[in-house]
């Protein structure tokens, strides 16, 4: 292979070469089987400590397989075409690309050092990665798998939220305590909004009317007007019997209709259910220990949470706001992504 060969091309070649092998057929038959059941999706959970990804069948809610990955896997997503899992392996300074059919690592992305969270644009062609160690957001061409550029942000960037039209990227920086609004076309910061201490996650509503930013140490969620770049409401959490220090807001998921928000509260071991119109907390759901992140099944019937310290995943019945099952996964589960098929 000459150095000029693009990885995309070499991968296509590699896949055609392997097509028809036993491994691949096996992978495909599993894929077809899952595809045949209308309600079954696949959830992928990154286990920060055991360096694995747990594959969960959301029909049976059991771990179907465990994939070995690089060092310290955290941020995880599926590509928009559903063909690959992307997982940031921070201590290996890269993002690994896993084929969903074969569960094999087929490539790595030039993510920059210590990648943690990342997000794709709506076409699935561009990836935005937070590099905590050098205060940058790296922009990657997903097809060619080459970096396109970087944007300097505050100290320790982490959360990455893309507006529904893909024009604005919100990056949070943990020590600067800001949500940076980046124009994705210009690749420049257009606004900086100060939020509470150690902002970790940013999530837009589907109608782009609000972006929610969680602050882990501050223990709050700032609801930001993405046009005025102002915090219009700060959601606070008050749980009887718990000290303020234990309430640490991390992952955020908002339903497609924009009516209900879920916020993971870390060592408070709870998910806050929020009326996303009034921004009032409706309920706290007790899940496992140190809950990090969440993902909906595509039909939004279930919400799955990763519980870091108790090494499990809680399944929330979204309509009834009840935990219906807990699944043991690897050590220190962190991120979660669910296939759309």
């Amino acid at each position: 292979m000459t150095p000029k060969t693009s990885i995309g091309r070499s991968l296509r070649r590699r896949r055609s070469r392997f097509a028809g092998t036993r491994n691949c057929l096996l992978g495909m038959s599993v894929f077809v089987l899952i595809g045949a059941q209308a309600s079954a999706f696949t959830a992928y959970v990154s286990n920060e400590k055991s360096n694995t990804v747990s594959v969960i069948d959301t029909d049976k809610f059991t771990v179907a397989k465990t994939i070995k990955v690089g060092q310290r896997p955290r941020g995880i997503e599926l590509t928009k075409d559903g063909k690959f899992i992307l997982v940031a392996v921070g201590d290996d300074d890269t993002i690994q690309v896993i084929d969903v059919r074969t569960h094999e690592i087929v490539a790595t992305l030039p993510s920059g050092p210590d990648p943690e969270l990342f997000t794709q644009d709506h076409t699935g062609k561009i990836l935005y990665v937070a590099n905590e160690n050098d205060n940058t957001v790296t922009i990657i061409d997903l097809e060619r798998r080459v970096p396109l550029g970087e944007v300097q942000v505050g100290v320790e960037p982490e959360g990455m939220g893309l507006s529904p039209d893909g024009k604005i990227l919100v990056a949070t920086s943990e020590t600067t305590n800001m949500a940076h609004f980046i124009d994705t076309e210009m690749r420049q910061i257009v606004a900086n909004v100060l939020v509470d201490a150690r902002p970790r996650f940013a999530e837009f509503k589907r109608d782009a009317s609000e972006v929610w930013v969680s602050s882990e140490i501050g223990g709050t969620v700032s609801v930001i007007d993405p046009v005025k770049h102002e915090v219009k409401k700060k959601i606070t959490f008050d749980i009887p019997g718990l000290r303020k220090e234990a309430i640490q807001a991390v992952g955020i998921s908002i339903t497609r209709d924009g009516k209900t928000g879920f916020v993971a509260l870390g060592p408070a071991n709870r998910i806050a259910v929020i009326n996303a119109t009034t921004h009032e907390v409706q309920k706290y759901l007790l899940v496992g220990q140190r809950v990090w992140h969440m993902a909906f099944t595509p039909d939004e019937k279930y919400l799955l949470t990763t519980n870091g310290v108790s090494n499990d995943v809680s399944i929330i019945d979204v309509a009834n706001l009840r935990i219906i099952k807990t699944i043991q996964v690897g050590e220190l589960p962190w991120g979660i992504a669910i296939s759309q098929q």
């Binding site: 905590e132 080459v146 970096p147 300097q152 020590t175 201490a197 223990g219």
Partner: protein, 414 residues
Amino acid sequence: MIKTKNGRLCYGTHPDFDRGASLIRLLLAGIFLFGWTSASTDAAEINIGYLRRIDPKSTLSRIQTPADNDGIAGARLAIDDNNTTGRFLNQQFSLEDVRLAGGANAVAATIALVERGVSLVIADLPADELLKAADAGSPRSLLFFNVGASDDRLREEDCRANVIHTAPTRSMLADALAQYLVWKQWRRWLLVVGSHAEDKLYGDALRRSAKRFGARIVQDKVFEDTGGARRTDSGVVQIQRQLPVFTQGAPAYDVLVAADESEVFASYLPYRTWDPRPVAGSAGLVPTSWDGSHDQWGAVQLQDRFMKQFSRRMTALDMQAWTAGRMIGDSASRTRSTDPKAMLDFLKGPDFALAAFKGQRLTLRDWNLQLRQPVLLSDGRMIVSVSPQEGFLHQVSELDTLGIDRPESQCKLK
């Protein structure tokens, strides 16, 4: 270049990209520089003085001899972090290093700083000198951050309304250790205290902690400093004979707790006690605000940043100074002010919460301006535990189980 599982080669960086990337970087730097110069014309300036004694300190272990920039390196890193933030808020932070040696006067240095437009001072000074400097700075609206002195009296009978403390007190350190030893069921302590004033203060703090958390001091011994050099050619020969004898005949105990801030004997204790027992306090398991091995709660990022810039590991004093620097940065960005009074009001208020890689927010005790903080327990190579320990409860904050609490406090801030 990275090999995949199948032995295929993947390129971390596309060769074509290298040229493109440098161009992009140049362009970005240009845009950034343009933005910076146009913004910095009216940037709010925050000038901070760093006042420190640089008298040489000898330690028993060579690897613990403090670096020349011990402390101030942490402050410098915080200033860099603040300036990254300040770039978005049009605030610029600077640090002036004032080194006091021999008979140099901290009061004169303080007044000179005020004359140069400094309104905030990070101080690494002994207690008495700190008080004199603070009192000289008080009518001049100077706000101090004590990063070096752990004396409880600075937060109690000698507290000052213009001195914030990021250094944990002796009583906080002792409580952090005691909670762990009690949790471990090592309740019978052989206490050995040095003969210098600060050793005695640490000894007092450890006795208080033992009583508070239900440990029993089975014997209370003094290790007399008879003078002499820290290092000699005959080395450990005599020590190996002296220490077992010194600890011989003690009543049954679980752990030897040593108070030796003066670096006279504690580091000689591990592996040399008459009975095979663990050592804690000034050697062995040491309570501290920071350690180069701490890597939980995102601390790796701070440790990496520090190592990259200063080519050494970050110490407790570096961390205490970093924390002070970040408190200044955070209060400046939240209040959008450079006025020390406004900053102090913010830091004392309910909205202040500092993220400092310790798993929870750090806040200020408004009754004596001491920073609440978890305390790490380090064996010199690893973090063994972090206090407060589970189960030590408190009605306001579990962090207030460490050190002297509000109802017992003698501090009256004016």
